[in-house]
């Protein structure tokens, strides 16, 4: 039995096979290969090697180290003894609402117990096998360093693989108590880091398949343009060039080598059609949103109390309009995908966040069933949500279908940026009021943006990274136009106790796709809300820290995190420094508060220091939590200060890092991260550090200059205002 077939047949912890009805697949596999694999995640070879199948993509968030840590902990082996392998697209790994998916800061939260259980089950079976050999009760045995030990007797795991395989698979194996943790909650080195410093790490772009050719893609100036005519005679005459052809959304240049394809691409003349977003202009979208003060046709997400009445009757009223642009993910590794179409079987090698989505999308293009598409997930050079989409895999499959040989398609940086799936342009009309005692009377939010869920469902149909029942529910709501767009609106309540609240949404419908971008809705909603809370605090003449504190429930995690950032808020500061604060309850689970110190140097916003306090429950690897906070702050600062995607007459104006700048080291602030010591279950950390940075900087700039910047990116707004 091939390993893939064997693994494909294993479900979660392989519960339910009958002992006594012939040898189980686990026993058969152990007898044939010597490898003990009680479930789809953990296996132990005859030589004692422990392997964990990582069914999530490593995007830099540290999931490889997470899996290795959990398995090493429960199996009582050193972490260096655990080999990690990135799992193929097999049914056993469809564990995220029926999909194999990495996203939404869920890997630690969702994997913490199942992966430990997978390892603990293996351990229990190994102990059982050894105890039987010795004729002693399993409870008298212990494990250490890859051995089962009883008194002076010891048996290596590798010697027990066949006997352990015939033990019953425990459905609820004993997990190690927290007091016995050697690895979880401790600092540890990242297990995949060595390959990332010696050049051996294999990303999607590094995949090499025998007989492989390369494809470079020309995309039109307007998003989604199709070629009307292609003049390729000069290109085809160049050495190594195999084919040039138009396909939906682009022109493929196929050559033996990438440099041959790039050179050929320069001499190809293409006439493009007007594309799907001809005429789209972000300035016009802004003007329309500013003009849209209508009430009545918007989708209501929340109504609590009577915000209109409370605001109308209040002593002090404030209204503000916040804006944020389209954004691009701009991962360092440009989009790429390697595909081999062999008759009715398709093999894909790619850095993707959802192999399941790729399977479905590629199957449709090639005309096979999703089970006939096998996806090998590679390391990914960043993802930030972009790689949950399958658009680039679809293009690679279209090319591969025609070429016959394995094809590695790479997008240029310009394609990566102009043919992106963008974080929506967003506008928020915020109204709020203070009672005479300075407390919040009510808040009214009207968000205008592209409807993320609606568009995702339209783009993917059944290949969406959501369960079917959910998709059907959404479709039903869409059909009646009563879908409150949860993805876009998330984050507007932020745990604040406000008696009267109204949150509503008006979709902006364009043909430019909007998509999941690190922190999704809160990447904007937190900017609008936390800036507005600051405006209310200043109007109430209350310290912004204290104002927030009064709005947070006594005894809440949110309030505890805010209290922990108090020293940073009240620390002495030099003249010329503005200090700002913002916080978030992310996805109802992770709490983050940030305090920033900002200066203006010759008109340039300089963020000097960022203090972060995070409560993510138990920090499985505190240093990776710290790294994720640092990374989210820096990623968020790039967007807060400088980044925007604008369109003029349907053409994306930013094409590379000169016009879509990423923060560079000389502008990187000093970042201090404090992690709340918590015994609660772990929660996600990939996204929550991002949303507070933009409002914290805007609030600091207000403190410094008295000017309230309500539009991102802040530097541009500062320059024009």
């Amino acid at each position: 039995m091939r390993r893939r077939e064997f693994l494909g047949g294993l479900g979660i912890l392989s519960l339910g096979f009958e002992i006594g009805c012939g040898p189980s697949p686990i026993v058969k596999h152990a007898r044939e290969s010597g490898t003990f694999a009680p479930n789809a995640w953990v296996s132990i070879r005859r030589d004692g090697g422990v392997v964990v199948e990582v069914d999530k993509v490593e995007l830099g968030q540290g999931v490889t180290t997470l899996y290795a840590t959990l398995v090493a902990e429960e199996l009582d082996v050193p972490i260096d003894a655990v080999e990690t392998h990135y799992a193929d697209s097999l049914p056993a790994y469809r564990t995220s609402s029926g999909m194999q998916l990495t996203g939404g800061s869920t890997s630690t939260r969702d994997g913490y117990l199942p992966i430990r259980k997978a390892a603990a089950a293996a351990r229990e079976m190994l102990v059982g096998a050894a105890a039987t050999t010795w004729g002693v009760p399993p409870a008298e045995c212990r494990t250490e360093g890859g051995f089962v030990i009883h008194g002076g007797d010891r048996l290596a795991y590798g010697a027990l693989t066949v006997s352990a395989a015939s033990r019953p698979v425990p459905s609820s194996p004993n997990l190690k108590p927290r007091s016995a943790f050697r690895l979880i909650g401790k600092h540890g080195r990242r297990v995949e880091a060595r390959a990332k410093v010696d050049g051996t790490a294999k990303f999607g772009i590094d995949v090499r398949v025998p007989n492989m050719v390369r494809a470079w893609v020309l995309h039109g100036p307007v998003f989604g343009a199709n070629a009307i005519s292609v003049r390729s005679d000069k290109a085809l005459a160049l050495p190594g060039v195999l084919d040039v052809f138009a396909f939906p959304g682009g022109v493929a240049v196929v050559a033996e080598k990438t440099w041959q394809a790039i050179a050929a691409a320069r001499v190809i003349e293409v006439t493009w059609d007007r594309g799907v977003v001809a005429g789209l202009d972000t300035e016009k979208l802004r003007a329309a949103a500013r003009a849209d003060t209508s009430r009545g046709d918007e989708q209501l997400q929340t109504t609590k109390g009577n915000a209109d009445k409370a605001i109308a009757n209040a002593a002090t009223k404030i209204e503000a309009f916040y804006e944020a642009p389209y954004l691009c993910h701009a991962s360092m590794e440009p989009l790429n995908c390697t595909v081999h179409v062999r008759g009715k079987k398709v093999e894909v090698w790619a850095p993707v966040q959802s192999p399941s989505v790729v399977q479905a999308a590629v199957a449709e293009v090639v005309g096979v069933s999703p089970e006939d598409v096998l996806v090998h997930t590679t390391l990914a050079g960043g993802g930030f949500g972009r790689r949950t989409h399958a658009d680039f895999a679809v293009q690679a499959a279209q090319i591969a279908k025609r070429v016959g040989r394995p094809v590695q398609m790479t997008w240029s940086r310009e394609s990566d940026m102009t043919q992106a799936q963008y974080r929506s342009i967003n506008f928020a009309r915020m109204r709020g009021a203070l009672r005479a005692d300075g407390n919040v009377a009510g808040i009214d939010v009207h968000l205008l943006g592209q409807p993320l869920l609606e568009e995702s469902i339209a783009a993917f149909g059944d290949a969406l990274p959501f369960p079917r029942a959910f998709v059907d529910t959404i479709r039903g709501l869409m059909a009646t136009n009563t879908l409150p767009d949860l993805g876009s609106l998330e984050g507007f309540d932020n745990t604040y106790e406000v008696e009267h609240r109204r949150i509503a949404f008006t979709p902006i419908r364009t043909k430019l796709p909007s998509y999941f971008w690190r922190a999704v809705g809160p990447s904007f909603t937190c900017f609008a809300l936390e800036s507005f809370i600051d405006e209310l605090a200043h109007a109430a003449r209350v310290d912004p820290f204290e104002f927030r504190r009064r709005l947070l429930p006594v005894g809440s995690r949110a309030r505890r995190v805010l209290d922990m950032i108090a020293p940073a808020w009240s620390a002495p500061k030099a003249p010329g420094v503005g200090r700002g604060i913002a916080r978030i309850t992310y996805a109802g689970e992770t709490e983050v508060a940030e305090v920033v110190d900002v200066e203006l140097v010759a008109g340039r916003i300089k963020v000097r220091r960022v203090h972060v306090v995070v409560d993510c429950g138990l920090a499985v690897n505190p240093d990776i939590v710290r790294a994720q906070m640092e990374g989210a702050v820096i990623f968020g600062l790039s967007a807060a200060l400088d980044q925007e995607i604008t369109l003029a007459n349907g053409v994306v104006q930013q094409r590379n890092f000169d016009t879509y700048p990423v923060l560079r080291m000389f502008e990187c602030p000093e970042i201090t991260v404090t992690i709340v010591d918590s015994g609660e279950a772990p929660t996600g950390v990939g996204e929550p550090g991002l949303p507070p940075i933009a409002p914290a900087v805007a609030n600091a700039l207000f403190a410094l200059t008295g000017r309230r910047l309500r539009r991102l990116p802040l530097q541009k707004e500062l320059d024009v205002s």
Binding site: D198, F203, A263, A330, G631, N656, R664, M665, F666, C668
Partner: protein, 154 residues
């Protein structure tokens, strides 16, 4: 043309104007050097040419004939990592890791020029290399750590 990459002679049948990046990746088979932007804006493709940090995506292969090219694969000595590589591990620098080859090459060139760079030196040189994951604070710390390790040695 004949190139010397990491001390090994590489014969590449490519036009002289072919970017060194693709010769390194597809002719020499060294994939540690990455394509990021194609315009010397991001630094992911940084290699050393006679010890100088160069963005290989805009360096014509023909211009480096007869010069010594070093890529990330050439930093370790028989599997023994350089002080910078070790420091990178100790500080848990890499996240996605895609930019790190370029970061290490820029840092290597920096330390070759200045044994004890100031913070400003580090910021000036390393600002040529983008990192989307936000590893800059750790890169700074790792360079300091490597300097300590190198200067501490006789």
């Amino acid at each position: 043309m004949k190139l010397e990459i990491n001390g090994v002679s590489v014969e590449a049948a490519v036009p002289a104007e072919t970017p060194l990046l693709w010769v390194v990746r597809e002719e020499a088979g060294l994939t540690g050097t990455k394509y990021g932007c194609g315009r010397a804006l991001c630094g992911a493709c940084t290699v050393l040419v006679d010890g100088e940090a160069r963005r290989s995506c805009v360096v014509a292969a023909g211009d480096v004939a007869g010069k010594k090219v070093t890529t990330v694969e050439g930093l370790a000595d028989n599997g023994v990592l350089s002080a910078l590589q070790e420091a990178w591990l100790a500080e848990n620098v890499p996240q996605c890791g895609y930019c790190q080859s370029g970061q290490l090459m820029s840092a290597t060139a920096l330390l070759a020029k200045k044994r004890e760079p100031t913070d400003a030196d580090v910021d000036a040189v390393m600002s040529a290399n983008l990192c989307r994951c936000g590893t800059y604070p750790r890169i700074r710390a790792a360079i300091k750590r490597a300097v300590t390790a190198l200067v501490g040695k006789p």
